[in-house]
Each structure stands twice: as C-alpha cells, then as structure tokens.
C-alpha cells in the first residue's frame, strides 16, 4: 500500500565540523550592601533578563501560614514607597517589562525581563519593590482572596491535583514539602499584611540575596546602574539558616484520586533521589532521558508510538532543594496521561519497561544518542538571555559553582552506558515508587489492583 516517489534521493548527509560553543561564564561580584551579583554579556540579546534570589525558603514560613512566601512574592509588585499598586504595574509595563515572582522550597525568586533600552528604569522599580514594598493592608487582603480563588482551579486540574497528592504521600506531615507550596485554604486565609511584613523583615535582605543580569550589555555602565538601584537597598548582615534534611517514604503503593467520569487518568509516579551535588547526577540525567526524556525514549516508544495509550509520558528529575553539604534531594518522577480504559494496560507496560531496563540495561546506541542530544542542544537551549539567567540562578540557589553547567556537559560526555543504566535503575526501582492516579476510580481501581504494584487506596478529589 505504498507508492513510489519520483524525487532524486541522496544519501544522508554527514555533519560538518562543529563550531565551538561554551556555556557562558558569568562575572561574579558584590555590591556594598552585600548583594551578590552575577553578570553575563550576551551579544544580540536585546531583552535583558534579571533574576533576584531571596533566601526566604518555604520551610521558614511560620507555622499555620503556609503560602506567606507566595503572598509576599506577589506583593512586591503591588506598590512601593513611590508608587501605588496600580501605578507600579503601569510603570513596569511602560518599560515593556514583565516581572514574575514565585516562592519555592529554596527561596523566593523574582524574574524581570526588559528591553535593554529601558533597563535603568525597570531596575529602579525592581529595587523599590525590594527596598520599600508597601504591603498595604488592602492589597495584601486582595492577594489573599485572589489566592483563595485560585485553589479550586488547581484542584480541578488533574496534573496539579496529582502533584499535590504525591507530595502529601512522599513526605512526613511535619515536613513543609508535604504541603502545597502556595498554601491551603486554611493557611492562606490566616495571612495578613502584618504577617507578610514580619516575614519580609526576618528573611529578605541584600546580604543573603543574589542578582543575576544577562543580556546585551553593550554601552551599559552596569556598576553605576546597580549602585543607583539595587545598591540603595539596605538590611542587616547575613545569618546562616540550618536546613532540615529531606526524608521521604517511597514504599511502593498506589493512590487513586477519584475523579468520576474522567476520560483520562493522570499518572504521576515518583520518589526522592539524588540532587546535583551527588556524583551520580550526570548518569541519572542520562539514564532518565533514555527512559523517558522524549518521544523516542523507552516509555513513549511503547506507550505512545506502539500502543497509542497517551499523547506522551515523560520521566524527569527536578531538584527540590539543595544544601552545600550535599543533603539536598530531587524529585524523580514519571508523568503523563493515558485514556481511562487503557489505564491498567498502560501501567502494566510501564512496569514492563522498567523491568526490562533493570534486566537488560541500556544499549550503547541509546546512550550515544542521549549524550549527543543532551550536550548538542546546549547552544539552542541557551540562545536567550532568560534561559542563561535562569540556569545561573538555579546554580546559585543550589549552592553549585558558577561553572557547574559547563562541567556537567563534560561529565555527560564521559558517562558510559553501564553507569547510565545503573543510575536509571536505582532512580526508578520498581518496588519503591509511589503511584498517584487522578482518574475515574470506578473504572480503574480493579485493573490497577490486579497489577500488584503496591497497596491501592482511593481518596476523594476535593
């Protein structure tokens, strides 16, 4: 049932000579107020990216006020000593700027993007926000109400709902990691402007912060500019914060979050494993890619391209929090959605893929393609200022050296098939995976029980 083509065929071309590219090395310094500054000139990148890291981790949130770091992060753009909330938003947009802020386990992060021509003005606004946030009662109250309104939308979203359940299952109830990053209805409702200000005063100061500035800085006197803006922010000296160890229970089990009538089941299968401080990280990245990094990886080769059960299933490792002493951890997980009637067969195939990987290992060809991709895509991946800034900021946040990313590429290239196999197998052991399924329990519970991949419990979605 095929037809002949009439074009002239040529053999597959061979690559030319690779042109050198290296992950940019930032220049590191500090302002008089103690703020650490990383800068990186990227010719041609007219939109400058600025990342600000604040040492205000989620585990510093006061008891019963989960979500306060998020409210504080959002409140930074709701007015200062110079501008009302509406004026501040207007002034930022007048610069053609965007400012995002979010709170996560390692800390609070603000991301500014702005055309270089308007960088001075936008940096001034950002400095105002950090130096003298208004935290007005009515604005904080509005942010709290707005946050409360968002929660039902997240509960209704299968991927968000699955993530929430997995955290609850994996981490002990006493750990901040077991609870939603942005708080629950109860904790968010208890937040007010006085509490936000107290959190700000306790945890936000230049001495424990970092600014990363990346873009085409031709003709920009960055030292003078930073001095006039972020340099005017003051605060007490840095104090070391003890970081509690990350513990998790990865006993193999299944939790079904019941969503009657769902046409698909959202899968999130995870556990906790090594972060970037562990020597296994490069091999784990490689092995995880071979397992489920892309459409041609092992999971999708079966679940998507052979069986058609899914639009795509991915395996990934995501750092939760790192510490200088190496006690940090990453979430290792497999996620995707499969149609309801094929939930049992899809999980069965998924476990078969893991079993085959453990029994037979990866092939050299798979390893080679993975290395070529992971290392080869670097110049594409880091074309924009924002991508470079974000990776540099991640490194700082994770207590890694500034040349970490370039070293990682060398390590990936030097990692063999045997190491990658071992890392993938120990990252995803068949009997140490917590499986969360958001789907129609009436239809999927029995087939999932029959698989014997762990004790099955059913909880309500609400």
């Amino acid at each position: 049932m095929t037809e002949l083509a009439t074009m002239d065929f040529h053999p597959q071309p061979q690559p030319g000579e690779a042109r050198p590219w290296a992950f940019p090395a930032p220049e590191r310094g500090a302002l008089d107020n103690g703020l650490t500054v990383l800068r990186c000139h990227r010719p041609g990148q007219q939109v400058v990216a600025v990342e600000i890291l604040l040492a205000a981790p989620l585990e510093a949130e006061p008891q019963g006020l989960d979500g306060i770091a998020t409210i504080m992060a959002r409140a930074f753009s709701e007015g200062t000593d110079k501008h009302s909330a509406e004026e501040f938003a207007a002034e930022l947009e007048r610069c053609g700027a965007t400012l995002d802020a979010h709170a996560d386990h390692p800390g609070v992060r603000l991301s500014l993007e702005v055309p270089v021509s308007r960088l001075p003005k936008a940096l001034g606004l950002l400095a105002d926000a950090l130096r003298a946030p208004a935290f007005e009662d009515s604005e904080v109250e509005r942010l709290v109400r707005n946050r409360l309104d968002e929660i039902p939308h997240e509960t209704a979203n299968p991927a968000r709902r699955a993530a929430k359940e997995l955290s609850k299952e994996l981490f002990p109830a006493t750990s901040r990691m077991s609870r939603p990053r942005q708080g629950t209805e109860e904790t968010v409702a208890a937040i007010d402007s006085a509490a936000v200000r107290a959190f700000y005063e306790k945890h936000v100061r230049p001495a424990t912060g970092t600014a990363v500035v990346v873009g085409d800085l031709t003709g920009v006197d960055l030292d003078a500019l930073l001095g006039d803006t972020l340099g005017t922010w003051t605060g007490s000296a840095a104090e070391a914060r003890p970081v509690p160890p990350v513990t998790a229970d990865d006993t193999g089990r299944v939790v079904i979050v019941d969503r009657p009538g769902a046409v698909q089941t959202q899968l999130l299968i995870g556990r906790v494993g090594a972060d970037r401080h562990d020597r296994v990280w490069p091999a784990q990245v490689l092995g995880t890619y071979c397992l489920g990094g892309t459409l041609t990886s092992r999971l999708d080769r079966v679940l998507r391209e052979e069986k058609g059960y899914t639009y795509g299933v991915r395996a990934f490792g995501q750092v939760l929090r790192s510490a200088p002493d190496g006690t940090g951890a990453a979430m290792l997980a497999i996620s995707g959605s499969v149609d309801t009637p094929n939930t049992g067969p899809a999980l069965d195939d998924l476990w078969k893929v893991l079993r085959t990987l453990a029994a037979e290992g990866l092939t050299d060809a798979e390893r080679d393609v993975a290395v070529q991709n992971l290392v080869g895509v670097a110049p594409l991946k880091f074309e924009t200022a924002a991508a470079v800034a974000s990776t540099l900021a991640d490194q700082v946040e994770q207590h890694l050296p500034d040349d970490y990313q370039s070293t990682l590429y060398q390590q990936l290239a030097a990692t063999g098939t045997v190491e990658a196999t071992a890392a993938a197998v120990s990252a995803f052991p068949m009997d140490r995976l917590v499986t969360v399924l958001v789907g129609d329990a009436a239809q999927i519970e029995a087939p999932v029980r029959a698989l014997g991949i762990g004790e099955v419990s059913v909880v309500s979605a609400e």
Binding site: T2, A5, M7, P13, G44, Y311, D339, T384
Partner: protein, 452 residues
C-alpha cells in the same frame, strides 16, 4: 536557480535582513544570516490548515501532521525525531487554522541533515505511510484531544466559542483538533489524498535562519528539494470573508463541572495584515493585556469580582480575527455583574479612546513581545514563513514592530468603537454543576496542535 535580491536592512528592522529565492518547482526559500550563536533554524510552512478540511473530516490536517513524523522514503519509523535529536537538534510541527509548520533548530554543522529530512518527507512520505502508523497516530491524537481539551476544566471553551463566532459551514467554524467522530472516520486514503493535494513544493515556504552560509545553504536546498515535482491541484480554500459586524449577540451557557463561573467572549475583528488589526491588538492590550489594563484594574483590583481577567488576540488572515475575553469569577460573584462591568469599560473606552500613557504602555508591551519572537533563530524563521505564506512578503516580518508603533490613538479608538460592541461578539458563560450531572470537564484553548 534564480537568485533573489540581497536585501539591505530596512528602517525599523533592527538590523535584521532576509533574502528570497524560488526553486524551479515553486518552492519559496527565505534566508536570514546571523552568526551570534552556532545554530541554524529550519522552518517549513505548508499553506494548508484546518480551514482546508471538509465536512466529516475535521482534524485531518493535524492528524496528517503527526503522520509526517512516521517515516518517509529514506527515513525509517521515528527516524525523523531520532536523527534530529541525535544531532543535538530540537524539532516539532504544529497545525493551525491557516497553515501547518514543521521546524528543526540545529547546531550549525548539522543544518544539512535537517534539510535532507524535510525534503525526504516532502517528496516521498507516501512510500512509508501505512495502516499501522495511521491507527497508532489516530489513537495518539485522540489522547492529545482528551489531555488538552476534554479532561481539563474549560478545555473545550475555545472550540465552543469558535463554533459560535464563525457560522456553520464557515472554514473556521471548527478548530484544528477536530472531533472524535471525524478522527475515527479518517482513512488512510484520506491521508494519502491530503498529501497529494497539499504537500507540494509550490505550496510551501522554507526559511533557514542563523549561522549559515547563504550560498551553501541554497545549494543544499536545490540539491535536496529541487527534484520534487510541483503540482497545481490544490483547491482554493472556502472563502472566509464575513461582514465586519456579527449584528447580534450570540450566546451559549455551558453547565459543566468547572471550579468557577466564567465569562468568555470572542469579538469579530479586522483581518491580520491590516493596520486596523494592529490597532485592535493595541486596543485589546490597553483593555485586557497585563496587570495595568483597564479590565484587570476594574475587575481584579477594584471590584474584586474576578480572579483573572484579560483579552487576547487570535490573528487570522483568511477570516476575521478574534478578540478573546476570558474572565473567571471570584467567590460566588455572578456573571451578569462581570458582564455589566466589561460592557461599561468597553463603552467608556470607545467613547474616550486610550490615554497617551496607555498607548505608550501597550506599544512597549507589544514591542517586547516582538523582540522576544525575533530574538531566537527559530522565532525569526517562523515569522519569515508566516509573512511569506499569508501576505506574500517575508520582509514584512522584520518591520512588523515598526507598524505597531506607528498606530495612533485615534485609530485604536476607531477600531474599538466599531468592533468592541455587544452586537459583535459570541459569548460563552460557564455555570458550574456538581460532579454527578456531567461527564465532561475540562485549560485554555489554543489554536495550535503540536506533534510532540
């Protein structure tokens, strides 16, 4: 091969240039050099989208796009993905109302591979297309539909609103994802006929952008694409023209298991490529783009009746564009309260027009969005194809931002007054119901479907 002119940078192009060429078989080629990073983007737009589909075969253009990744004359199975990724490249394809695009971003030294792969499937897809791929990708696309539309709250809003805004029988009445029934009904023969009709070099534009040697690149293009025969059997798409104003308010109330009430609306706006469309873009930005917009200030900050409120623009060249309103209510606020406030703000805007400061903000925002889009080789390659396919001139991509900056406040007010009226919109109201009463539940609509 006739060589095109070498363009010098036009005013407002930010120093970017592009040259145009055409092979004897009709393939148009656009090249743009930029040696800042050792990468090159290849982008191929076929002038076919869901507007070309016929009744009973919605979703075929997108399903077909998936089949383009299932092998061709010299490429086995998933070889297209494997070879590009193994070369350190990234790739995908997407389908919209008006076009289907395929793209690879490669390290410079692997550019030739991407050209070879694109040519292989343009010239010899049918040598590999079989029932097995068809059945498999049909299931994958149905799962894509479930994941992005049917299994998320408000997921089918885009489809519903488009269906309201464009009348039955109009080429844009249905969205690129298509219906489950039509996806089930599509046959291998439909796919083969689709390829023979639309996948011809003279129905495509190829752009290559980045760290390239233009002469060498053109020689490769000629070598790999030059022998693919052009053909002219393509039927013209059905006419998408509609009166400027709908003339009445179209309305649908959806009772579904959603987390909050919502008011969504689609306003009929000028076609893409016109100055009036740029003016409409600015009007929507002032009214509902970002956190200093009139609707955000009114509904989210002052009235506190909404959790989110904004306007977006779906630019379309072959039919009226759509101005996209999306408001999710706060707490137990009812939709009429929101609707009255929106109408009041729109009427006031039509009466007053934008302030000088609002114009400055909106233009600054759109300027940054353009800098972002042209800031990567892949973004630039896509925009060059877009202007070549839809408007016949890729150079327009490089001056687009200039045109937005030239629009006056009076023009913005004019388009708002003429178009942002209650009798020129389709409205979709969401009223939540408890779980037992429904089995449909659903994220934001999009006009694009991706293969990966």
């Amino acid at each position: 091969m006739p060589m095109g002119h070498t363009a010098t940078a036009e005013a407002g192009s930010g120093g970017l240039t592009a040259t145009e060429h055409r092979l004897a078989n009709g393939l148009r080629v656009v090249l743009s050099e930029d040696h800042l990073t050792p990468v090159a983007a290849v982008c191929l737009w076929y002038d076919v989208g869901s507007r070309h589909e016929v009744k009973g075969r919605t979703g075929l253009a997108h399903l077909f796009e998936h089949l383009m990744f299932q092998g061709s004359g010299q490429v086995k199975g998933n070889g297209h993905f494997e070879l590009v990724q193994g070369a350190g490249g990234s790739l995908n394809g997407t389908t919209s109302f008006e076009r289907t695009n395929y793209f690879e971003t490669m390290p410079t030294h692997q550019l030739e591979l991407a050209l070879w792969l694109e040519a292989d499937r343009m010239g010899s897809l049918l040598a590999a297309l079989d029932d097995e791929s068809m059945e498999n990708q049909r299931d994958v696309v149905k799962n894509e539909r479930r994941q992005r539309y049917d299994n998320v709250p408000y997921g089918t809003a885009f489809e519903k609103l488009t269906g309201l805004a464009y009348p039955e029988g109009h080429p844009y009445h249905h969205t690129p994802i298509g219906s489950m029934a039509d996806l089930d009904a599509a046959t291998l023969e439909d796919a083969r006929a689709f390829f023979r009709t639309y996948y011809a070099p003279n129905n495509a534009v190829l752009s290559v952008v980045g760290d390239i040697d233009p002469e060498q690149t053109l020689a490769w293009v000629e070598k790999y694409f030059g022998s693919i025969a052009g053909h002219d059997g393509k039927p013209a798409p059905r006419d998408g023209a509609l009166p400027e104003i709908i003339g009445e308010q179209l309305r649908e109330v959806v009772e579904e298991e959603v987390p909050a009430r919502a008011l969504m609306a689609a306003y009929r706006l000028p076609e893409d490529g016109t100055r009036a469309c740029d003016a409409a873009d600015l009007a929507l930005t002032v009214l509902g783009g970002g956190e200093s917009s009139r609707l955000y200030n009114r509904l989210v900050r002052r009235d506190r009746t909404a959790v989110a409120a904004g306007f977006g623009l779906l630019r379309l060249a072959g039919a009226p564009s759509l101005g996209w309103l999306d408001v999710k209510t706060s707490g137990d606020v009812e939709v009429p309260v929101i609707e009255a406030a929106v109408d009041e703000e729109l009427a006031r805007f039509a009466e007053e027009g934008p302030t000088a400061e609002e114009m400055e903000r909106a233009q600054a925002q759109l300027e940054r969005e353009w800098l972002d889009r042209l800031g990567t080789v892949a973004g630039r390659a896509d925009e060059l194809c877009r202007y070549a396919v839809l408007f016949g001139d890729p150079q327009l991509a490089l001056t687009a931002v200039q045109r937005v900056l030239e629009v006056t406040a009076a023009e913005v007010q004019e388009v708002a007054k003429a178009r942002l009226r209650p009798d020129n919109r389709a409205v979709l109201v969401y009223e939540p119901v408890a779980a037992e009463e429904t089995d449909a539940d659903a994220a934001e609509g999009t006009d694009e479907e991706a293969a990966k």
